[in-house]
């Protein structure tokens, strides 16, 4: 693991996410290859890439679920390796598919999460999360009986329960119908007003609608990062759609075997 002290001197420090030289190997498979990325505080960053590009693995490492093979991660000013519990307290994580306990009622689940994070004011925190995620009508219902959209909302409510400065959302709109997608997208936009959000998605319109910047991965490597205008300009595709830009950048990365910006 590289020393974070060295990075601090050269890279500065902020309350967002700073990743340097991140590598993850599963046996002989290189899932993430020397990844550097920055998510500025208060920004919404879209994490893009084809299936198997390393998005979920990277997000799991950023949330402390998986240990990196090499590299350093700093979230909200906390070095993830030196102070994992400190970092866990300021990250809200919504894994892909929003895993929940179907047998519990929404309120029971949120109470459990509030105890897990040792919240000082669990009742107030649950109230705020329930209101913010529009769950007031379903708090007494078993999670297993809720629609996919509501389950996603429960996952989001649990993720923001401890008022984290950083939200990491892995495909938050995956599997939802168009109406539910709009609801969840609006919710993410509301949540982005006062926190840093890193979200992975395959829906490129979503990126254009809510993200300030994008990070594009291919084969575990960083292909491009920046705002859409600058990426278009760098690729010489000013008038291209995001789909065309995504395909072009990914194809370049596959053909060159490395980063294009």
């Amino acid at each position: 693991m590289e020393s974070w002290c060295g990075l601090q001197a050269t890279e500065g420090q902020h309350d967002g996410i700073i990743v340097r030289g991140l590598v993850k190997r599963f046996g002989r498979i290189l899932a993430v290859d020397n990844l550097d990325l920055d998510v500025e505080p208060g920004s919404v960053v879209g994490f893009l890439g084809h299936n198997g590009a390393g998005k979920t693995t990277s997000m799991r490492m950023i949330c402390g679920v998986l240990p990196p093979t090499r590299g350093s991660i700093r979230v909200g000013g906390h070095d993830l390796q030196a102070n994992p519990s400190g970092a866990a307290g300021i990250i809200g994580y919504l894994p892909e598919g929003s895993p929940l306990y179907p047998e519990l009622r929404v309120l029971e689940y949120l109470r459990f999460r509030s105890r897990l994070y040792s919240l000082q004011d669990p009742v107030g925190s649950i109230d705020r999360a329930v209101d913010r995620c529009g769950l007031r009508d379903v708090v007494t219902r078993p999670i297993g009986q809720l629609s996919r959209g509501y389950r996603q909302r429960v996952g989001l409510a649990a993720a923001i329960l401890h008022d984290p400065a950083v939200l990491v959302l892995d495909e938050p709109t995956s599997g939802l119908d168009p109406l539910q997608v709009i609801e969840v997208r609006q919710l993410i936009e509301e949540l982005s007003e006062d926190r840093t959000i890193l979200l992975s998605t395959h829906v490129l319109q979503e990126v254009e609608a809510i993200c300030d910047r994008v990070i594009l991965l291919a084969r575990g490597r960083l292909v491009a990062q920046g705002d859409l205008a600058s990426l278009r300009s760098e690729a010489g595709m000013e008038s291209a759609s995001l789909e065309d830009l995504f395909v072009s950048l990914t194809a370049k990365a596959f053909s060159s075997g490395g980063s294009v910006s």
Partner: protein, 238 residues
């Protein structure tokens, strides 16, 4: 400690939200009642729960893994283990929380059998010291079964495999203790004999609380829990 109690509380609550929890309680009470009516509640017999406790050691061998088989592999299947890993809860508090929940469930399973003790009180003069010793023994041997069940749930990918692993381990141990003295001879058996949990349980059923027996079960339970923590921690770090 708070995260540990949060995990224990959620697990304990879930135990009663699935039919399997009630089936385990009902089966345990049914088995106990049959033995009680056939072997204990007979005119002229001493007012003792010995045969119940002897039976329960075997019955718990099959029921305790049913309590713990969901504990970790279900979290892994649902994906909620990922949420726990991303939370401030440590692997130790997760496993200890799982164990405390299972132990609380075991106490709930044992509680209805106190009705049988009350019947003994009505129709005879039971020795409460012996009965308390028997229940202590059941809690200790049950803790051993539960902790081994948690380890089985940590290492296996499905509830069924977790159940079978835990049951077969103790069934083989039980069969082995019958056959082993003949195979290895009395001298070698005398060395292994102190490690026989079923033999140690027999002391509790006759009302003998030996501190070495108590320590034996506590150490064995701790070993299974530590092994569970080590395996899960290794998995998280790989």
């Amino acid at each position: 400690m708070r995260t540990c109690s949060a995990i224990a509380g959620r697990d304990f609550r879930s135990f009663f939200l699935f039919p399997s929890g009630y089936v385990v309680i009902a089966l345990f009470l049914l088995g106990n009642s049959i033995v009680f009516m056939g072997d204990v509640f007979v005119q002229g017999q001493p007012a003792t729960m010995r045969s119940i406790f002897d039976f329960d050691v075997v019955l718990l061998l099959f029921l305790c893994p049913a309590v713990t088989m969901r504990s970790v592999c279900e979290e892994r299947r649902l994906g909620t283990l990922e949420l726990i890993a991303a939370s401030p809860a440590s692997t130790t508090s997760f496993i200890v929380g799982k164990f405390l929940s299972a132990l609380a469930s075991l106490i709930v399973i044992l509680l209805p059998t106190l009705v049988l003790v009350m019947l003994l009180e009505v129709y005879g003069q039971p020795d409460y010291g012996e009965i308390a010793s028997g229940y202590l023994g059941l809690l200790l041997v049950g803790s051993m079964y539960l902790s081994s069940g948690i380890l089985a749930s940590v290492v296996s990918g499905s509830q069924t495999i977790a159940y079978l692993l835990s049951v077969f381990f103790f069934v083989l141990l039980s069969l082995g203790r019958e056959a082993l003295p003949g195979w290895i001879g009395p001298d070698a058996w005398s060395v292994i004999k102190p490690f026989d949990p079923f033999l140690r349980m027999q002391d509790f059923t006759i009302g003998l609380v030996d501190s070495s027996n108590v320590l034996f079960f506590i150490l064995l339970t701790s070993w299974f829990l530590l092994a569970s923590i080590a395996v899960l921690e290794t998995e998280r770090r790989s």
